[in-house]
Symmetry: D2
Subunit: 306 residues, 4 copies
């Protein structure tokens, strides 16, 4: 299995649907190939943005296969394998690896009575079930699970295959700094949250991004820049980052559509589709942000499109 | 498709696991066949007690097939088909019906922004996807969705295949009474919540039970009795009902095991297994409740085992 | 300050209101004096049942004064002093003690990011603010705070004035047993939850009850009885315990009214009042439970009213 | 009572504390007087940022009196009067008005069983209790109450004293647009959420801001500008807006302190104080945002400090 550095940008991709809400396999391929052209370090599928919680298992498999095939070994495909049951999460993880995933991303699951021991048992069992690298996602906003810092540190110490922490507990910059200071083996930290706090997280020591912002080139430029330039790039795109970060996946899917990455902005019920207000404001915002730049092409932050 | 009356007792069955947490197919068969011998009006699988949220789709299929085969047409098998995505819920429902389910049980799914319209759309879409009878489960305690009475009434009015309401919103007796008073077509109401409020729900007009209490014969006797006798039977078994109703599924699975219905009391992680205290108290409680009655046989409430 | 044993029964009392929702001071006095006649070991006011979260601070003071005066030193008055701010909780605690409370009952407060350290800091600060005995209430169902067992143990070890644990985390019997086994100094454990699991909690080692069930004489009889007799008494009154335990405070207030303890069953908005169904079922249930016994008098479980 | 236009900027002010967490009355005065000098249209106290949930009632009164005195009739003081009990909320509202508040801000309170009717009853009762203008705050993020659009519209139609909607339900721009389109009497809409979506909310029709961002001059400039200029101002300050918007009140209080508005950044327990990371990043961010501009003086967005 290919070693993955987990530094840089691993965009979280939506799951494209046709207007009837069935999987749009062709768009899976287009989207991944274009991401490779954009220079990403990997792609992440079947996360929250991927509406993973609205798919059947066979649909999950379909998406994995299409994306792995399109990645064609050029970049690793990280696959979300979270499930409310430990054994099922193990099965999803193993199934993803068999289909060519380079790593799996997992979260703890909220139980009626929160328990650090239960969280540890859940994560360790998944790690035991496969040799693949594991991205430990810490996103209380979607999971409802608040992992104390010490719990994360001890799991990283205990489980050698935890290869990356996707750090999305708020407030994120001090949490990144604390992890960097206390992790007893070097473990890459990627952040998410739509890159809302991106410049602050990088300044605190984060190694890159694993998030759904539709312009991974912007995030890649931030990772490669020095702190002041990263701040400036972040600042430049911050209205778009904020706008995209509104709840739901419809705005992101619409931008993916406008970039030519997917064919339709269809969101699966009961998720909300694009509002009229959002569509109109997005029109204006993209013009303000990119003026005449063709967003269907790779964006070069900091120069042409200022 | 066999018409189902939805009066009487439709026990919610656990999903039996072997000690390694894999599906115990043999116990699926035993459990269903014994339930038929106990005289139940149907069986319900893949609910919360069935740990449905800890199964992969293929495991779900395995459980359905084993239970439908064991039911052998003697009683209908009601299959839980709830999912956080509408389309996936439709697929689960259709898959269950194809495998021989007599009806499907569905719930709304909690969204970040609660919306009666979204709930309606979700339920109607599932109803549109199949001709099968639908049990509309209203259990805010597990779903987090609080459906106003008027929403339930209007969905029943709009969707002719809603064949039963599984009423578990608290407080349940006044809710049963309100439904009975306002439903514009006769719709059976079964209650759950482990039968904790069973006598009060029957007195308010409920038609029976769809719940996990491990002695459905007791509930059947209550349904057939007059109000005072139903109260007395409920009273007789109330310590057991209360004890069983403690959070988690471990106590119920242990009673199922002691009754010879399943081979092991295994609970899937991250669910909690049987505590030492619960095991000891259950020993004593079963003796207090049944004295010398053999609980592996059908219980006859109200006579031999008082 | 009078030492309090925290063994026996410390009923949680409602806050009586006149029909216009103002404090019914006269009923405060009646209620407390009658409780003393019923033989309780103390009374507890301004808990959840006391609608403490719907009172202004000056109304709280009014209730405390009326109840302390009526207790007249015959039994201690335990006063709820929970607040979402630590300093405010300290002030409420000190104010209660000045007014004659014998102890204060406190809970942790749910913060956006749960933290055992924050919980510890909150409780310790309140303990530092007063010399009075502290009842540490562990009721995740109302507070949303899940304290790990080790946290409770360490706070008891650290704070000598924690004089009692009000144990209401589910499942409660194994939790009581674990506390009893692991507490490094003898600390009374009272349970609540409307006494739903009362016999099981006593069997696991609990020292008594601090709960809202409207017949504290029943609970007192359980505490004094051996295990089998306690089970029998609990069993006898279990339908009433279950019925009273339905959500909201209206049923309890109505029983208090029927017992002549308070003048009106008024519940403060936005709390729900007594439903027609509940009122009718309560009529019937009281007759079934007590036949001709006068519930305005002290009940003697286990003899006259079987 | 002075009529209030509810257009422009009504900053939500923190409650200043001394290092021992007691009320810093002097800073109340300084803060309000400086806000008047900054040209705000009113000030709002005892909201979430004001740690209102960590104050006793008498401390609330102290804060109101100090702020009203400092406002000296130059601008109206809007006072938060939310409470979990309806009658207590009425008392808080009346008490605030008596002390000179120009309006009260109220929210619905989350009940165990959500109910539009209960929300309506709560808000209407408060409106009935006073003649003062009411700001209806719709902030599900802090209240847990999701009011359907129709409920808000009908309350505005029914209650003539609802003088302003503080619109903070997400996503906010389409919600502002929908309110503007459907309100049957002109009702000002102010938005909050730290101004994160400020330019988008103004573009959708909002009338101004009622939020805690520590530079109300920036928001005032946005309100007075045309859409493109408002976008540009918002864009200019967006890193600061994002940074300030991290959970908790510590960063805001620290900026208030650096601006000379309050003497200490003390946060009441169990709230979190300023992290080392946040303090360092704030240093850098203020320099990047304001270069040599003196933030203790009134800021003039769009010119000197670009």
């Amino acid at each position: 299995m290919m070693a993955i550095s987990f530094r840089g940008v691993f965009p979280i991709l939506p799951t494209p649907f046709l207007p009837d809400e069935s999987i749009d396999v062709a768009s899976c391929g287009t989207m991944v190939r274009r991401m490779v052209e954009f220079g990403v370090d990997g792609v992440t599928i079947l996360g929250v943005l991927g509406e993973a919680n609205r798919l059947t298992d066979s649909e999950r498999a379909e998406v994995i296969e299409a994306c792995v095939e399109a990645a064609a070994g050029n970049v690793p495909v990280v696959v979300g394998a979270s499930h409310s049951g430990t054994k099922a999460s193990c099965e999803l993880a193993k199934g993803a690896i068999v289909k060519g995933a380079g790593a799996v991303m997992v979260t703890p699951h909220a139980e009626a009575v929160p328990s650090d021991d239960k969280v540890r048992g859940h994560i360790c069992a998944i790690a035991d079930a496969t040799d693949a690298p594991i991205v430990l996602q810490d996103h209380p906003g979607s999971t409802g699970v608040h992992m104390p810092l010490d719990l994360v540190l001890s799991m990283v110490a205990e489980v050698p295959t935890i290869a990356c922490i996707k750090q999305e507990a708020l407030p994120s910059p001090p949490r990144v700094a604390a992890l960097k200071a206390k992790l007893d083996r070097p473990t890459p930290i990627l952040t998410g949250l739509g890159a809302l706090y991106g410049a602050f997280e990088l300044a605190a020591g984060a190694d890159g991004f694993m998030t759904g912002f539709a312009f991974p080139e912007v995030l890649a430029a931030m990772v490669e820049a020095d702190a002041d330039e990263a701040f400036n790039i972040h600042h430049q795109y911050l209205p778009l980052i904020v706008f995209e970060g509104q709840p739901g996946v419809a705005i992101r899917k619409e931008i993916f559509r406008r970039r030519g990455l997917i064919a339709y902005n269809t969101v699966r019920a009961p998720g909300a589709g694009l509002s009229q207000t959002a569509a109109e404001q997005l029109d204006h915002l993209l013009t303000q942000t990119f003026t005449t730049t063709d967003i269907q092409q790779r964006i070069t932050p900091g120069t042409a499109n200022r």
